[in-house]
Symmetry: C2
Subunit: 478 residues, 2 copies
């Protein structure tokens, strides 16, 4: 069989798609070139050969759907799962029930060409691999039907969020990744220095520099200029905890809103934001939901999982989300009679198991507001009671917290007191506190863990399975 | 005058905007609440007081337009540029010619409230400051009409690009920021380590880790799984060169396309991409162009600058972009008779001054293709001549290069030869080269310097004026 190094021209079909790029399977399925001769490129997902005919499942990563190709048995002898191939033939209506279309290759042997071969040991054979095993194949795992759907879904959510903020007249901004301030005061920072720096010499930036743990402080600066701002930006934590919820590098959606002074204004806004994504899921607009569901892993509990996921979306979309105070949350936990691994204590905040239980107890997403000030960061606005701050966490069943937000303290004196009390350096935050002396306004905002949202919406349990190349302690593959 | 700490409720008007957030001036201008009583929040841009009336220019950062407010002189006595204020009054049709609407405050003194004061030394008075001076005010400069327009424009371009890739069925991905490989082999890397790491102990990630200089290699991995992918991601270079074109941290739009084997397929695609942004500029959709032009700095050559900018957009949008080979570019430069500061030499590539001259000579954007292989990175695909590679740079007048792209070498042997020849470590790139053994396909892609594109489209000369908090050598303010 011929091995080729270039892709046969598909010029004739390009015009329909108004592009110089060859059409993807996703584009072809949406705009099917029925009864037309064309060249199709893709990867062999599987081959089955019978006496008179061979069937090839072709995919190209653009959709979970594969194209059923009908070959002469002689054309299929060298074909193996994983190879990239180029096929010449005709796109026809299928007589089978499984799919609407199939692709019949022309009878000549040369109509089927292998573009790129795979070794005999190519690991992604047509069987169900565990997600854990797939994580050991960082360069190949995104070729599986399930995991590639997750990344396409992530891309969809990203776009929907862009649309939402655009419709609400927010300005998208890019706050710095390298920073000299430690936003949370948590200390789990990565330090950054030029590789060519000489020991003991002046640092590259003239001072110590770190990777941002949150863009919030810089967003506040920008909100004070542009009104309402948002970003979707990588943030970093040098955490050693090895859980399925934590990464050292993850993406955070953060927004900062001017002229708000009620926590409820922000919680309602985040509810609208997430519902704007859910709307397309619940209505299955453009097949978003059905694509995701039909690419779910064919495990034994496959149908149960899908039913659970659909129920989750419906529930999220159709109900009005509950909100309780932290006081009430603690009381509910204490009165539950449940024996938690970590005891419930007012001064300790909520552990993940408490959050999960509470969210389940309330039957859906739950805002918990007004935490005690001493367990929250310095920038949160003190409530009138002098004990709690105007803040909220959004907690959901199975996952726990996915959003944290607050009103920001805009009183300079109180802000400086809180900074000093936490042994943070007032000087290093001078640029930030100076915003309170220059036309400060009541404002607030929130941060959404983007990977956690994707996990929640897809039912994926490990955050490593929604990010292309996860980075964590002792984990930096490829 | 009353100093308040909370924002008066604007509940009544919220409903029109279907939001729990107070409407911004931008939203109000689009959907004007004529003859309605309401509360408006914003910043004092300027105040002029006469005997019987005071005029206040109010802005809130959401649009370059300010709202002309008509006050009783007594209400204006304490007002100063920069303060944040809350005004109660009525939105009315304006009798003046300068603006369509104005806001008449109610006569009571309490209808005008200062929310946040400014010090006497507040530097942003109503006069034209140089951009250089404004750079010394990192926390305040984005409040100026001109610079805030630039960030709003950046946000618009970001959204348009999201729309473009969505319409072309690309998957948006987030490749890692922290990486153990050195994509370009250029060596100007930032190293990353946990601040709490102990000297001589195992590194946090189990190996040396750096900030990515380009996401391309990881994008290739993802393109081999998902077909066509793109990202808009921060990238980093530990360059010490202090120019108005370079930053240590900047945003790069990168895309990787499967099943292409002609450079022209990619150049045409990038032309379509940039024209998709220009379309709204040239047609002034939603006032994108007029907003930008009317917020231009009122320098003496203001009108000339605007005319030049409009001509640039028209030219970019309406003409088909030229393409020449590198050979031809060198020949054109040599035959030009121009005495360049840096002499033209085939083996040295193009200097920025050469690029600018060439683009001007061709009267617009120009693709230069097929550079000699020895001056380009290891991953570019060798042409049939054995001397040049299938690559391109997009160069534009005044700015120089804004896009670089190529077909990628998908022949494993050639790729490994190029890696070795450049003294790079074949082992460290094993994950990348392994893609060529596992169903490799002809593919290519490009990288667009996002800040450079914004500079070119807005006429901004210094890249520091299109990014909120610029990071460069010895430069890490706020």
């Amino acid at each position: 069989m011929l091995r080729i190094r270039s892709v046969p021209s598909t010029q004739r079909i390009f015009k329909r798609f108004n592009s110089t790029l060859p059409p993807t399977l996703s584009q072809l399925f949406k705009n099917p070139p029925v009864d037309r001769d064309l060249t199709i490129n893709g990867y062999v997902r599987s081959v089955r050969s019978y006496k008179k005919v061979s069937f090839l499942d072709l995919s190209d990563g653009s959709t979970h759907e594969s194209l059923m190709c009908v070959l002469q048995p002689g054309q299929a002898v060298d074909l193996k799962t994983g190879q990239s191939v180029s096929l010449q033939g005709k796109w026809v209506q299928s007589r089978g029930k499984e799919q609407a279309y199939e692709f019949k290759t022309h009878p000549q042997e040369s109509s089927v060409k292998i573009i790129g071969d795979v070794p005999e040991t190519y690991p992604l054979q047509k069987k169900l691999h565990t997600l854990q095993y797939l994580r050991t194949l960082p360069t190949l795992r995104w070729r599986t039907s399930y995991l590639s759907s997750i990344l396409r879904f992530r891309s969809f959510v990203d776009f929907k969020l862009n649309e939402f903020f655009q419709s609400r007249d927010f300005t998208k901004v890019n706050p710095p990744i390298i920073t000299s301030s430690d936003c949370e005061g948590a200390g789990e920072l990565f330090q950054v220095e030029s590789r060519n720096a000489e020991l003991g010499k002046e640092p590259f930036f003239g001072k110590n520099a770190y990777l941002t743990v949150s863009t919030q402080l810089h967003l506040e600066l920008l909100a004070a200029s542009l009104g309402n701002v948002w970003t979707l930006s990588p943030v970093f934590r040098a955490e050693s905890s090895d859980t399925n919820r934590h990464l050292s590098e993850f993406w955070m959606l953060e927004a900062e809103i001017s002229f708000v002074d009620e926590v409820e204004q922000i919680t309602k806004f985040t509810e609208d934001m997430i519902k704007s994504v859910l709307k397309d899921l619940v209505n299955d607009t453009n097949g978003v939901a059905s694509n995701l569901l039909s690419s779910q892993r064919r495990t034994d509990d496959f149908e149960q999982m899908n039913a659970k996921l659909k129920q989750r979306w419906d529930n999220l979309y159709n109900k009005s989300w509950d909100s309780i105070t932290y006081d009430k949350a603690i009381q509910t936990l204490q009165e539950s009679g449940v024996e938690f691994k970590i005891p419930v204590d007012y001064n300790d905040g909520l552990a993940t198991e408490h959050e999960k239980w509470l969210a389940s107890h309330f039957g859906g997403p739950l805002f918990v507001t007004d935490y005690p000030k001493d367990i929250k960061p310095f920038y949160m606005k003190l409530n009138k009671d002098g004990k709690t701050v105007g803040c909220f966490d959004l907690i959901v069943p199975d996952v726990g917290e996915i959003i944290g937000g607050s009103l920001r303290e805009h009183d300079l004196l109180r802000l400086e007191q809180e900074i000093s009390k936490r042994d943070m350096k007032v000087d290093e935050l001078k640029w930030y506190t100076s915003l309170r002396e220059n036309g400060s306004v009541p404002h607030g905002g929130f941060g959404l863990g983007f990977e956690r949202l994707i996990c929640y919406l897809t039912g994926v349990e490990n955050v490593r399975d929604v990010v292309p190349l996860p980075r964590a302690h002792d984990e930096c593959q490829a």
